[in-house]
Amino acid sequence: MDDARATWLVETALRCYPARWRRRHGQEAGELAALLIKDGTPAASIALSYLAGAARERLTPRPGPRLTAAACALLVVACSVGASAGLLASAAPARAASASQARAHAHARCQPSSAGPVPGVAPAMSRPQLIIWEAGHGRSC
């Protein structure tokens, strides 16, 4: 590969870096490439290395005030959604349980006293605290 073509290849690869990087390292990187080519390193492999570096540079997120604020906002939103979903999920079975308890309470009033489980309240009975409540109620009735 002739010098002009090698230089063009490396410069094209260097143009893929963000402007901030080129301002900082651009000239030095060009000079380093020229030295490596003089040493016998193929220009294509240098260009490939710079292309990979440019891709990494563009894909790696830089921690900054804007990014940190966005991350915090996302975290807050995720937490509130998670908390709401959790509350909804815990409220639904409780509501269902209280409805079946009311039904069971009405039914138990007309039954003779018994500490055993009340038929027809199986969903609510699966919760330990409800079993205690039913047993106590059965005794007092």
């Binding site: 380093l32 030295l35 490596l36 492999s45 490939l48 290395s49 570096g53 440019a54």
Partner: protein
């Protein structure tokens, strides 16, 4: 990364990659610019660092405060290892030495 992290015995170089460790080792005996680093690492470890890899590692090490660029009139910027950088390198090399010793011992015990 602060000086305290390295002096507290935390191996901060565990996740930075081999190229960054080689750069720190190369800078341990004095400041060098990009081309000198590539040549030195080639001699030292037989690893040919690509220029893209080199600049990525230099930026990462500088962000971590392990190296710093020196002022230069030339286009080439020499870099030098910082005090926290030297401490982090020492901790990392100690860790490598422990792992290496354990590996050799197990090979011996295994009779391989």
């Amino acid at each position: 990364m602060s000086k305290r992290d390295a002096s507290a015995g935390q191996d901060v170089l565990r996740r930075v990659g081999e190229s960054s460790v080689l750069i720190l080792i190369s800078l341990a005996d004095g400041p060098k610019h990009g081309y000198a680093l590539i040549q030195d690492i080639k001699e030292l470890a037989g690893v040919e660092l690509g220029p893209g890899t080199l600049y990525g590692a230099l930026d990462r090490l500088e962000r971590l405060g392990l190296i710093e660029p020196l002022p230069s009139d030339d286009r080439r910027h020499p870099y030098r290892i910082t005090v926290p950088g030297a401490a982090a390198l020492r901790v990392h090399l100690d860790a490598l030495e422990r792992v290496s010793a354990a590996g050799r011992l197990r090979l011996q015990l295994g009779g391989i």
